[in-house]
């Protein structure tokens, strides 16, 4: 066999993602986790008592729970070294011009306001622990759509927030859900009233600038009966030499006949522990669609979960994970079929290169009463070299006889035949390989809104540069 030469680049230049700003803040909590720190954060945020109590209770739960014995090694993560709350030196703005210059520049270079003008119905931007900018088109506000930062929501729509907050993901769920419950800050609140279709997407962008800090934003979305929404979430942070942690929480409530598409492109820097929890509860005839791209972070444990609670509820999950040097990305999805005639469709791709570890971890559970449920799972992995690692760990748990379930997983390399074929058509070997990788991820890119698909292609090109061929 022909000896293949590979050139490895040390680390990719992540361009705009690595722009660091000077850390300016108006309030910064002490490092670590104590009831005093939690009380101070809550006081600083001027929260109602129920929320302060909720935080303290979550902290107790956090100390009781152990780290998961499965998955990536988290021993390097020391919460005593993490600053859980940093308020940037600005207030929440509704006009882009009022956002401080350096923060504005960061988001400008990430293309956020541009995207807003071009293709979005509303935008939120979070910088460290607080949301610095939020806007929504007037016609949506007129229809009763609420899109705001969650701190404002607690004050203005306290009843709704109180009813839903951390009921989908209870703090006792796992250690990092408890951590989130204790120190959460920032995030978006979306409420789409009955029958309203939001045609163009809403987008929140989360940026963690400060080193050695944590970002714990909470996203709460309620899509009422017959309504629909497409929500996009973007995350990034510049590279620091110390560990940062992201333990956000996304709670989605999809009511009868409603539909929600939740898209994420995550490009955290490679000092980040991304331990995010995302979950949706879907009622009768409702649909949840997840589109999830994981590129960044040092360690990721991310498994968006769909609970199909109403009859004929549907879940779709499309995911891509790209693990490069020094990265351990443990991602996947969980679906609970808890009502008759529910269906789920899972399609994931993972690529690992240059010593990266890409794991698909999934679970499909079909409970006793979920007769006539259907589930299809397809996982594909591509290894670009033998320094890397790729595992597929799916669990299928069926508790009744009237189901239709299929699971398929494949692992492999770029086929020599395909390269040979492309080369015989006059395409260079490097280009042929890059084309095959792009083809491999194409089913995912086509699910993304255009500007995100472009971003993802750029990320893939950045990652592949000099590594194939």
């Amino acid at each position: 066999m022909e000896k293949r030469n590979k050139t490895y680049v040390e680390d990719v230049n992540r361009g705009v993602y690595d722009i660091k700003n000077e850390v300016r803040y108006s309030y910064k909590s002490d490092k670590g986790l104590t009831p005093e720190i939690i009380k101070a954060i809550s006081k600083e945020k001027n929260e109602p008592k129920w929320m302060t109590d909720f935080r303290l209770k979550s902290l107790e739960v956090y100390h009781k729970l152990d780290l998961p014995p499965w998955g990536p090694d988290l021993s390097e993560l020391n919460m005593e070294d993490i600053v859980t709350y940093i308020r940037p030196d600005t207030k929440m703005n509704t006009s882009w011009d009022e956002v401080p210059e350096d923060i504005k520049k960061t988001f400008d270079s990430l293309g956020i306001p541009e995207a807003e003008r071009a293709a979005l119905a509303g935008v939120g931007a979070q910088y460290d622990s607080e949301v610095v900018y939020h806007s929504i088109r007037e016609e949506l506000t007129a229809q009763g759509v609420i899109y705001t930062d969650i701190e404002t929501a607690i004050k203005e729509y306290e009843d709704i927030v109180k009813e839903y907050f951390m009921t989908c993901v209870p703090p006792k769920d796992h250690k990092f859900a408890a951590l989130h419950g204790a120190v959460w800050s920032g995030g978006s609140f979306v409420y789409v009233p009955e029958g309203v279709n939001v045609d163009i997407p809403l987008q929140s962008y989360f940026r963690l600038n400060a080193p050695g800090a944590g970002q714990f934003e909470h996203t709460l979305i309620i899509v009422e009966k017959g309504a629909s929404l497409h929500f996009i979430e973007g995350c990034s942070a510049p590279i620091h030499s110390v560990i940062n942690i992201h333990a956000g929480c996304v709670e989605l409530f999809v009511k009868e006949d409603a539909s929600l598409r939740y898209s994420t492109i995550e490009n955290w820097s490679r000092n980040m522990y991304n331990l995010n929890t995302k979950r949706a509860i879907v009622e009768k005839n409702g649909t949840i669609e997840w589109v999830s791209g994981s590129f960044g972070s040092k360690v990721s444990m991310l498994y968006p979960m769909s609970i199909l609670r109403g009859e004929r509820a549907k879940a779709e999950f499309t995911g891509i994970t790209f693990a490069g040097k020094g990265q351990h990305l443990d991602t996947g999805t969980k679906v609970i079929h808890a009502a008759p005639h529910t269906s789920s469709n899972i399609n994931t791709k993972s690529i690992s290169k240059d010593g990266g570890i890409a794991i698909y971890r999934g679970a499909v559970k079909i409970s006793k009463n979920a007769n006539h449920s259907k589930s299809t799972v397809t996982c594909e992995s591509l290894m670009l070299d033998s320094k890397s690692k790729s595992d597929t760990i799916p669990v299928i748990d069926i508790m009744n006889d009237k189901v239709d379930l299929g699971h398929e997983a494949k692992i492999g390399r770029i086929s020599e035949e395909a390269i040979f074929y492309l080369m015989s058509r006059g395409i260079s070997e490097e280009e042929a390989k890059a084309m095959i990788v792009r083809g491999f991820v194409e089913p995912i890119t086509k699910e993304l809104p255009l500007e995100y698909a472009v971003e993802m292609n750029n990320l893939i090109n950045l990652e592949l540069e000099g590594t194939i061929g």
Binding site: W70, D391, D397, I398
Partner: protein
């Protein structure tokens, strides 16, 4: 017989068997099989002849003893971590066995007639703790059938370990049939070394016992080693079955296949764990795995965890698992040809089982299995 490896009342709380090679979420309760309320204070003798028939003069078949001749082979098996259903039961089968057979096929000897071993419990011999060793020298071919069954309704216990050492170019066919009565506990572990160009074919028919925990670990150690594992299971009433199959690809151009078909009825529960592990250096290897479960009642529980572990770029791995009702189209077709629904369902299950039953080389035994399945399916 050292006392400390026996399982006494005090440590019955947490006997965790058949651990998943890579663990996952705890709430799913699939990381291990929990054996509850188990205790064992002594192992009574097993006083039966287990060699049913074998090709005399062709193959060396002996009652197992810790012979020094095969020290090197023993050393290989002893150096492995995490073999068998659990550490305590592996130790028990290793050092406290009450029966077992050692089979050696000499170099270049190709034997078509199978060695047939039969272990059966009864009120005088309620426990089978067997250790079997099958050694196939270079380029030999050997077929071994082991039948685990019950001769009466005494609750039986089986804990065994079967070791296969297939040297370069050897072919070992091992067919295991388990039809113990429905108050029995069956713990069956298998481990194989597969040399250069050697081949180990396992056939497993799991039809009996109240609880059955089965482990197969096949190590494709050398280049071009190959292994096939075909299994069927039939669980009904409140039976539990837990299968943990692991194919470790070490050599280059190694090939493995797992095919499992089963039917679940009443309140039975099954867990299938099948792992293809491509170790670094196993380039150009291929592995495939397929599992299909037929669910016949609303109270069954069926878990499947098909793992694919990979540290090597240049391999092809494929797994598929599916579960569901009997295919409506097939059912409709058969019924339109005059079969009752019951008959049609039985036919479909038989059609899945047939190719695997056909791998039993003794017609007498094959007939017995067919009758057994026929009787069990009568209740559908």
């Amino acid at each position: 017989m050292s006392k400390e490896v026996l399982i006494t009342k005090n440590d019955t709380k947490s006997l965790k068997l058949n651990k998943l090679p890579v663990i996952t979420w705890r709430w799913l309760k699939v990381n291990e099989f929990n054996l509850k309320d188990f205790k064992l204070e002594n192992i009574p003798a097993y006083n039966k002849n287990s060699i049913n028939s074998h090709p005399v003069d062709e193959i060396e078949v002996n009652i197992i003893d810790n012979s020094v001749e095969y020290l090197e082979i023993e050393k290989y098996f002893n150096s492995l971590d995490n073999v068998g259903v659990s550490q305590e039961f592996t130790k028990m089968a290793d050092s406290m066995y009450n029966c077992g057979i050692q089979i050696i096929a000499s170099k270049n000897k190709k034997v078509s007639e199978p060695v047939f071993l039969r272990y059966s419990t009864d009120n005088k011999n309620p426990m089978i703790v067997d250790q079997n060793l099958i050694i196939a020298e270079e380029n030999s071919t050997i077929t071994v059938i082991i039948d685990y069954t019950s001769d009466d309704s005494t609750p039986g216990f089986h804990n065994g370990m079967t070791k296969i050492y297939a040297k370069d170019g050897a072919i070992v066919n091992l067919i295991k049939l388990q039809t113990m009565n429905d108050t029995s506990l069956n713990l069956d572990a298998n481990i194989a070394y597969i040399g250069h160009g050697a081949k180990v074919n396992n056939v497993s028919l799991e039809l009996g016992s109240d609880k059955s925990v089965v482990s197969y670990i096949n190590n494709l150690e050398k280049d071009t080693a190959e292994s096939n594992l075909d299994s069927i299971y039939l669980v009904d009433n409140s039976r539990l079955i837990d299968m943990n199959y692991l194919m470790n690809h070490f050599g280059r151009r190694t090939i493995s296949n797992i095919n499992t078909y089963g039917a679940l009825k009443d309140k039975s529960k099954k867990t299938f764990k099948g792992t293809l592990d491509f170790k670094r250096g196993s380039s150009l290897s291929k592995g495939s795995e397929e599992e299909y479960a037929i669910l016949l009642d609303k109270d069954v529980k069926s878990d499947a965890i098909p793992l694919l572990l990979c540290e090597e770029e240049d391999v092809e791995g494929l797994h598929a698992a599916s579960a569901g009702r009997i295919d409506e189209n097939k059912l409709f077709y058969l019924m339109s040809r005059g079969f009752s629904e019951r008959e049609a369902k039985k036919l479909i299950i038989e059609s899945y089982f047939r190719p695997i039953i056909d791998k039993i080389p003794l017609s007498q035994l094959r007939k017995k299995v067919e009758n057994h399945i026929e009787n069990r399916l009568l209740k559908i």
